[in-house]
């Protein structure tokens, strides 16, 4: 596979073209906004939390396929999970993407077993200038999670 094919995997294009959980929440929620000023990508997140569990979320904003797909996959992945588990997923994601140091948590023998669809974003690592695109949703998520514990 060429690095372009690895970058623009079908599942990424699918999430880009059919983003999950778009919109905004009306009930009680926290709101966080992330921006990459150099490229203009925007990611807005509404997050509803009850008893330490993410019960609902909605995303809005616009940007490149990587930033939007990363956010859409994140949304799919974290709803219904405990905040502590979501923080662990965030950590694993950031290690997988070489944003944080650590041993790659992904099991090459069993693709998708650790982070699901999100593992398809690994191709981005070969494009260092685009890693911040993949990271935008997660940094925004961390901001939202920090608000829930305040």
């Amino acid at each position: 596979m060429t690095s372009l094919d690895e970058l623009y995997r079908e599942v990424i294009l699918d999430h880009y073209r059919n983003p999950r959980r778009r919109g905004s929440l009306s009930g009680p929620h926290v709101h966080a906004e992330g921006q990459n000023p150099s490229c203009g990508d925007e990611f807005f997140l509404d997050l509803a939390v009850e008893d330490g569990v993410i019960t609902d979320l909605a995303i809005s904003g616009q940007g490149c396929s990587i930033s939007q797909a990363s956010g859409s996959m994140m949304a799919d992945n974290i709803v219904g999970k405990r905040i502590s588990d979501v923080r662990e997923i965030t950590r694993k994601f950031k290690i997988m993407m070489s944003i944080e140091d650590g041993d790659n948590p992904v099991d090459p023998e069993r693709p998708g077993s650790v982070l699901g669809d999100l593992e398809s974003l690994q191709g981005v690592r070969k494009f260092p200038v685009r890693i911040k695109c993949a990271d935008l949703a997660w940094t925004t998520l961390e901001d939202a999670l920090d608000q829930t514990t305040e």
């Binding site: 690095s3 490229c39 396929s65």
Partner: protein, 409 residues
């Protein structure tokens, strides 16, 4: 079509390979590559002349001062200024416009006064005026863009009155390539006694420009967009305005006398050049205008129009591709912004980069224009003397490949 392909060999960087492909550099609106003539001039300056200017009594210092001042004369000559002293060296277009906004604006604008801009301005010709409006209470007004991507002059009469003190307009948009209506705005300004500031960052490098004919009061441009070094640009101003304009920066070199509580400024242009200036860059700037003069700006313009026409034709053959800019090459320059289907501009840039093609993607420091066009980002190809129709063909192939990568056939 004028053949400038012999110039290509002057640009060592264009020999590079990127990701296994020969570089196709299509981002000259951002910054241009440098010919050996400019690189050598800077190199020779550092190897043989380097000293501070306007200070020493020794030979080297005199030679450095000569080199610096003769570059000023070359730049002045290049834009048709009647005297070298009408050219102030600045850090670039941005600094030049800030010098006008602070040096002229702070002292001449007040509550009720208006600064008239256009929606297609680069942030460099927006933000300084916003800052000055906060200090002075003046307000900002905008001319919009019409469906043909050109400045809409139909509202001009409604906006124009004697409270308009400044009209600041881009000579050529770095996004759409549209030429700004400088002549019409100069006429309008005359009627109400406003001054006209031309952001010529994209004009002077690409279109023969004669400030003695233009009718503007201030013209700002950057060396790095016209084959010269980064870190230097020029502010041309009418002599009486430069005379009355206050310096924005104070320090060494810009004074004729300093006492404990007050100082007197050096004569124009040095009162605007505080501190040690970018001397080697000025020398490189001089070499760049020498180079462009030798090619001839009329030929530069012809060449770019031909390439732009060719590019617009070829891009029109690509399905789902939208160009944001005037179709008529008489009314535009060589910055071609576009969107392709639902492929985000950054994804286009990443895909093209895999084939060695460098294009810019994003908002191009023109967010008000992007909002007006209702696009978050565009990809932009832009051309200069060293580009060829083959470069356009390579771009075409790359864009077809981008469609394939995104599953569009």
């Amino acid at each position: 079509m004028i053949d400038l392909s012999h110039l290509r060999g002057d640009f060592p960087l264009l020999e590079r390979e990127i990701n296994g492909y020969p570089l196709t550099y299509l981002d000259s609106a951002s910054t241009t590559q440098k010919p050996v003539q400019v690189i050598d001039a800077v190199d020779t300056y550092y190897r043989t002349i380097n000293a501070n200017v306007h200070r020493g009594a020794y030979t080297l210092a005199a030679e450095a001062t000569d080199a610096y001042e003769s570059s000023r004369a070359k730049v002045a000559d290049f834009i048709g200024a009647s005297h070298a002293n009408e050219v102030v060296f600045t850090r670039g277009t941005t600094t030049a416009i800030n010098f006008i906004a602070y040096g002229w604006g702070l002292n001449n604008l007040g509550e009720g006064d208006k600064v008239l801009l256009t929606v297609m301005e680069h942030h460099a010709n927006v933000v300084p005026w916003q800052i000055i409006s906060r200090y002075t209470g003046c307000s900002l007004e905008y001319l919009s863009i019409d469906d043909g991507f050109e400045v809409d002059l139909t509202t001009l009469d409604d906006i124009l009155d004697e409270r308009v003190k400044v009209i600041a307009v881009s000579g050529m948009s770095n996004v759409t390539g549209a030429l700004g209506p400088v002549t019409a705005l100069v006429e309008a300004a005359k009627a109400v006694g406003a001054i006209v500031v031309v952001d010529a960052a994209q004009l002077v490098p690409h279109v023969p420009t004669d400030v003695s004919q233009l009718g503007a009061d201030f013209v700002a441009f950057s060396a790095h967009k016209m084959l010269g070094p980064t870190g230097i640009g020029a502010l041309w101003g009418k002599p009486d305005l430069l005379e009355r304009m206050e310096p924005t920066e104070g320090g060494g070199e810009m004074i004729s006398d300093v006492q404990l509580y007050e100082s007197r400024w050096a004569p124009v242009p040095h009162k605007f050049e505080a501190g040690t200036p970018p001397i080697a860059q000025a020398v490189g700037f001089g070499a760049a205008v020498d180079y462009l003069s030798k090619v001839g700006m009329a030929d530069v313009r012809d060449h770019e129009q031909a390439i732009t026409r060719y590019a617009l034709d070829r891009l029109a053959d690509i399905p789902d591709l939208t160009v944001y800019g005037p179709p008529d090459v008489e009314r535009r320059g060589g910055a071609v912004s576009f969107q392709l289907a639902d492929i985000h501009a950054h994804d286009i840039a990443t895909i093209l980069d895999q084939y060695g093609i460098a294009v810019r993607a994003g908002h191009h420091c023109a967010k008000p224009l992007m909002r007006h066009l209702d696009v978050p980002a565009t990809a932009r190809a832009s051309f200069y003397v060293y580009n060829t129709t083959e470069d356009v063909d390579t771009l075409y192939d790359g864009l077809i490949e981008a469609r394939t990568v995104f599953g569009l056939t």
